[in-house]
Symmetry: C2
Subunit: 445 residues, 2 copies
């Protein structure tokens, strides 16, 4: 693989907004919008407070905004903070073939540069799409062996996507773009051991910061290798016991990995999603109320009880490992967003009562995204829904309307109502924005 990194750099530079197919632009718009929601939604988490206090301690120019908050900081800390925030709820997007969460490291780097320079929505959206493409292609090249070894691919491949997106917006030439990728390749972030701690969402945040710094340094003349990915002591060989270098550039401009990106409709582990999909579908179809329901039964894949079989969760965090809780809130609220995993909802009488009526039956034939849900009513009727593919899966993606509902649910109480309307409108119309600062302003209270 001669000149793999340089070729990648040239591919990034030769692909502008106008060369992206409409379905890629659509998915970029959806992905960016979904990212805004999860970043704003977690902005008051303690994890974010600590990072903001670090920026304050260090002192920083007010160059870019912390989404959902009033603080501004420099572009590097903004990338760190918004990237971390967007992965804090584990509610962001997932590239299905690699379990990479591509937006968390890429979008904050692109947006920070876009806000600082007042760039157009088209420019930022294209840079984001290209950054996602780079992160996903690197992940495809090194996974699954890279992930199996213990790396958290979101931060390790994400840093290259962040450098690509930032470098594109900073106007690097091919050599400097290769250098930016090189500086970034030397700074991967993320071990799977950190899952369950604040360091997990820090991985994509720090990857965003590292990638953005790499692009900034390359722009200013900092030198690096032009062969960071393919060299014998380079990124690919070092990061993965097995890798396929050809995946990085092959079919560039024809195959787009962003089309394999997916969004979580529910703020919990993906194995519970088929049950929630079924419960919510029956609720909508029959306009069900919790007081009508005598029982909920579901035939499920074997992983459901192993991974999410907690019967009586006491906290929001425990509820994320309880399919019983998921089914109950699905029926009561018609959704299972971050809000439905608060301690209050977990302890609510209605939730507790309905949770006890849920029965899960492992069915060895059920796939992971499949379930059969039966709701038994007090009047003896039995309603049944077969879920072939859970909402959010490749075969049953979230609609634009559902993404919008998810966004509204995440930002409610953080943004004032008028800003919610503004931000929804501007995010859907991102490619016609003359200046992304209009969108950013709508995303801060």
């Amino acid at each position: 693989m001669q000149n793999l990194t340089l070729q990648l750099a040239e591919n990034i530079l030769s692909t502008d907004f106008d060369r992206l197919p409409p379905e890629v632009v659509r998915e970029a718009r959806r992905g960016f919008f979904n990212w805004l929601g999860v970043a704003i939604g977690a902005c008051r988490h303690e994890t974010i407070d600590i990072l903001i206090s670090m920026a304050g301690f260090a002192g920083a120019k007010e160059q870019a905004s912390v989404l959902g908050r009033e603080e501004k900081t420099n572009i590097f800390f903004a990338a760190l903070i918004n990237g971390t925030s967007s992965h804090t709820f584990d509610f962001d997007d997932t590239h299905l073939d690699t379990i990479l969460h591509p937006s968390a490291p890429v979008a904050p780097a692109a947006l920070a540069v876009g806000e600082y320079y007042g760039l157009s929505g088209k420019e930022v959206l294209a840079a984001y799409a290209l950054g996602v493409e780079v992160a996903c292609r690197v992940a495809v090249a090194i996974c699954p062996s890279h992930y199996s070894l213990g790396w958290h691919v979101t931060g390790t491949a994400g840093v290259l996507g962040a450098a690509a997106a930032a470098g594109k917006l900073l106007g690097l030439d091919a050599r400097k773009m290769a250098y930016a990728l090189g500086i970034a390749a030397a700074q991967p972030v993320g071990l799977r051991e950190m899952f369950g701690t604040m360091t997990k969402p820090f991985h994509p945040g720090k990857a965003a910061m590292n990638g953005l710094m790499s692009a900034w340094l390359a722009k200013e003349g900092f030198t690096s290798s032009e062969r960071a990915l393919e060299a014998p002591a380079g990124y690919l060989k070092v990061m993965a016991p097995e890798y396929d270098a050809a995946k990085i550039n092959s079919g560039w401009g024809e195959r787009f990995e962003i089309l394999a990106n997916s969004y979580k409709p529910y703020a919990c582990g993906v194995v519970a999603h088929p049950v929630i999909t079924g419960v919510v579908a029956l609720r909508e179809k029959y306009n069900l109320k919790p007081e009508d329901v005598a029982g909920i039964e579901a035939q499920v894949n074997h992983w459901v009880l192993k991974l999410m079989g907690k019967e009586s969760p006491q906290t929001g965090l425990e509820a994320k490992f309880s399919t019983y809780h998921c089914a109950a809130v699905g029926l009561i609220y018609g959704r299972a967003g971050e809000r439905q995993f608060s301690d209050e909802v977990v302890k609510d009488e209605r939730t507790v009562a309905l949770r006890k009526k849920v029965k899960l039956i492992t069915d060895e034939k059920m796939r992971e995204d499949e379930a059969r849900v039966r709701i038994i009513l007090n009047d003896g009727r039995v309603l049944e829904e077969y879920v072939g593919h859970a909402k959010g899966s490749r075969e049953n993606p979230m609609t634009d309307k559902e993404l919008e509902d998810k966004y509204r649910d995440l930002v409610a109480g953080i943004l004032p109502p008028a800003k919610i309307e503004d931000s929804v409108r501007l995010a859907w119309d991102m490619e016609n924005l003359a200046d992304v600062r209009d969108l950013v302003r709508a995303c801060c209270p």
Copy 2:
């Protein structure tokens, strides 16, 4: 290896200055002093200018000094910049068993915190010694397979040393120290592919910054794993195909890796050092002048011609790969410091003329640190010096006087003469400094 990381954290916390043996304190003092010289020496390099401009762009409180310069910046950027500067000339220290350069990532993190809080020399020196110990022990545990794979161990193990040193000075408890090590473990820096570019010295600089940030975050309540090193998806397994976890804590307080640290007397690849050692010895012994010399002949290890066999270098950088040049400047100047590898010296008539008189003969029996040097005088006399172990090797370490000469050579022209005297005096007396800011002030013009 249960509780390996926590045990390491407790070891770090239980070892204060008073528990360090005198020979460890002595080596820490020498190592820190050597580090100051190389950091100040490279402070005007373009690499450092770019990093300083990044700090200026980002905006930063004036918390700590850039050594050798007038700029101040926040502690994180100070760690980045001073760490990068100290590795820019490839003239810093080397832990002989692992090729780790331990001071570059560790010392700047310790000094930034020390300067910010006005800590004592004892505190900073102990934290530095412990950080070096952690970095070296991690390197011993994962090398050589880690380095062979392509990692630049100085930045990948160094980040843990930086976190340890900073965490010690920030007063972390054992759990927070384990968290600091965990956050740092997720942020290794450095690929060997970057050698020969600005990104190489950036590795320890960024490791210093990452390690310091990790300690700062842990102090403020940021959570991480307590098992970052030993966990199945943790640092050791991920970073090295083969590793020996027992090396991390075994013999703590008895075996000190800092005693295997060494200092380069000459600012070029180590394989040329035996020849320079011999030439300089003969020059001193016989008070030789270049005009007396008809020829220089040396029997050398086989790597010398393979790695450093450039006969007619045209630039300072090329001269670093020319043992011919090294021998010539050794005779003309009695040294081969950074200054002797400037473009001016390379092009100087006297150097060019003497370089042509150097003859190198490979001797398969010669070890890497061995050489036999003959100088043939114009009057026909032949002077011979057998070098059993090159200056700077384990068996022939640099004396305090030689370290001081190296320091003076590096900082001349950067610090005013009075500050050179002050800094030499304060560095040698570091453990009696009430406030390390006195030393830092002496290290800035």
